[in-house]
Point group: C2
Chain length 479, copies 2
Amino acid sequence: MYPNWILQRASITPLRSALTYEGQTWTFQQVNELSLKRARQLTALGVQRGHRIAIMGPSTPALVVMMYACMHLQCEMVMLNRRLTQAEIAYQLEDSQATIVLVADEDVEKLPSSVPYHEFTAIENGKEQYVDIAKEWSLNQTTSIMYTSGTTGFPKGVRQTVGNHQASATASVLNIGLQADDVWLCAVPLFHISGFSILVRSLLYGNKVQLYEHFNVEAITQNIMDGDVTHMSVVAVTLERILNTLELNKAQASPRFKLMLAGGGPVPVDYLERASALHLAVAQTYGMTETSSQTATLASEDAMKKIGSAGKPLFFNQIKISAPNAQGEGEICIRGPHVTPGYIGRFAEKSATEEGWLHTGDIGYMDEEGYLFVVDRRADLIISGGENIYPAEIENVLLAHPAIQEAGVCGIEDETWGQVPIAFVVLKEAVTMENLKQYCEKKLAKYKVPKQIKIIDTLPRNGANKLLRRKLAALLASE
Amino acid sequence: MYPNWILQRASITPLRSALTYEGQTWTFQQVNELSLKRARQLTALGVQRGHRIAIMGPSTPALVVMMYACMHLQCEMVMLNRRLTQAEIAYQLEDSQATIVLVADEDVEKLPSSVPYHEFTAIENGKEQYVDIAKEWSLNQTTSIMYTSGTTGFPKGVRQTVGNHQASATASVLNIGLQADDVWLCAVPLFHISGFSILVRSLLYGNKVQLYEHFNVEAITQNIMDGDVTHMSVVAVTLERILNTLELNKAQASPRFKLMLAGGGPVPVDYLERASALHLAVAQTYGMTETSSQTATLASEDAMKKIGSAGKPLFFNQIKISAPNAQGEGEICIRGPHVTPGYIGRFAEKSATEEGWLHTGDIGYMDEEGYLFVVDRRADLIISGGENIYPAEIENVLLAHPAIQEAGVCGIEDETWGQVPIAFVVLKEAVTMENLKQYCEKKLAKYKVPKQIKIIDTLPRNGANKLLRRKLAALLASE
């Protein structure tokens, strides 16, 4: 048995800061007391220990307290993505059989009609009812359920247990170290594993979270320059915006700032080099919903030596490449105590692993020193005239062009070649199509040069700002 | 399943320093390769996976490599204390049914005759045989077995599993933090949990161990002054010698030195105050063989605020006081993943815990803020005229006297009072008995004043330098 993280943290270091949001700070004791009160209010509304409930709201302290209240009640939290359509929400509620939705007032309108819910303010103003809070949790208890968007078919609800989250947080600390006054900046959604894992680490480590509801690039860059924070989780696109802001301000990261964890897909090498010039340590990391955050992360001493690598497996887990080709590239498989025990709902019978190995659907290789390089999503692979084309490779080339802000590449059907790549770009300054084409032809083998380059305003991304390549093709179709 | 710590550490950070001894340093890769070779040599000698073997030797790299080789082979290592008599060793070998003793050449003569053994140099020079090394270990696998001296009757062989050691090391890091270049000085015996847990932490954290065969106070104090090391495990008597050396040299600890973990019994308050004056951070900790090292440790921010406390439980465990008296004092009980699953040999059937709680036999209380204060060993409690007298309290008073270097107190039978306390002291300068008596009478209630004070050269201590109070009474009897 393991302790209730919230009670234990409040008991061990009650007066340490737990959370800062818009200038206000709460200690672990305060967060605990608020969440215990909220648990009593939820109890008065009929929420019981072990219920599966859904939860939706913006990244504010109210959501943190609501999540901790549900954890006190040992509820299984179905984390609803605020960007979902009503149909998608309806699917997840039906699949998960969540008994109720706890929803921030401003998000009520996003719910399908006839769904039972409690608004945050109604809960916060409601009466309290005594409830016995368990001091201990078991490793197998499901803490959170997150639906993976998947690439085809129905999203799957992934279980993340107490043991998964604990293994992830402890393995991470063995890699990146820990000091009592570390502060993690959270501007990634709390409903996504990238954000929720920051809360878990805060509870286990006793570190403060500096929470942002939105990705406020100016304020965040200021935090990094001032050393108000020591760690931050980013994806490529948010990293680029911070780099850009630092560059515009001719500023650098404070020496107190320790590390950017960059996940959600390969980070363009160009970004890593710009970060290096700004003395901003970036560790590329590889993880997913099924592994409750990081599986591999580049250790600090390797950051500049292995640019482009996602590093080595964290201490408690293992990685292997399944059925590698002649270049050593194959499907990335993962094993360890951080790997989900499985799914809920219609996929409850489907095993998440084969002989203990999670087959990720991602393509990568390990170099001779054991460093993982993630090449691309297998589902996004473009096969053109028998050649494998990795969209990320073409995107990397495009992103190094001075006029290009963001880039996304996908394959479309082609009578001659089976598939051919096309590109979508967001510009930061004007450029001719001829210039872009010549640039690509200089940098890429002919079969990799995008057959079309489309200029658009924004790329389709998910709640974690991760590029959704399969939606690119749909953009073209809808033209 | 969890990784083989040695393989995993060598795979993740092969080139980091693992061990320094007498000026020579080995990386994790080197330590791994040496221990794999040693595992093959042990295999050639008939040692097989899962065998229970005994191991004895001084704290040298040869012993570390031998232990790691046994861990590669997933052997259950019975750690023999080098100070034991032949009769005591014979008991442990018979009770544990160890198949073989792996013994440092210089320790062969300590073994009872007719015990099967392999000398270290014979193993190191022997031939190799291929053996398949498991990449994964289970949490329930027994890594080490250590006999607790116990207070009466037969010593018990305590199992320490992979899960116990992992929980201890990860809970410790959540308390004291971690940096990649931390270095732990080990001058406590490797056969004792205080020393072996330093090796475990080194493997999990990727930190270097600076190993000493003997407690060389000059060299160790120099390491602390120079910042060659960041952490060290001490007991009260070794802490005092370091303090004394620092004071004589009018020196202080390097700012790079982070923390002394002081265990093995209460540390006199006088020492903590002297350490504070020397800018040497000391965290009193509470642990034992059955908990694979620390259960509670004072957090850095509380070090000076709660002098005399062993702190709060580490993150993964819990402490309660059983059957407390009016002052809140009672038996300290412990629960958590670091608590042994039980014993071997003649105590294999004896449960180590009651409803998951280990009853320690130690007396303590928790203050209103949840800090643990360890008062004394229950077995050492002196009951005099119905009053409880804690030897540690009297020892603390004696140790604050400028002429006294070490002090030990025990009870002897008394016709009038049932028991009365007597004291044994080691002097650092000449003092009259009259002076000592008056000093005690000024500082202690009458019933606590030792009825006799004996001056002796050394106090009886175990292999971990822990005072053995039950041997004090024997000293008196043997006079």
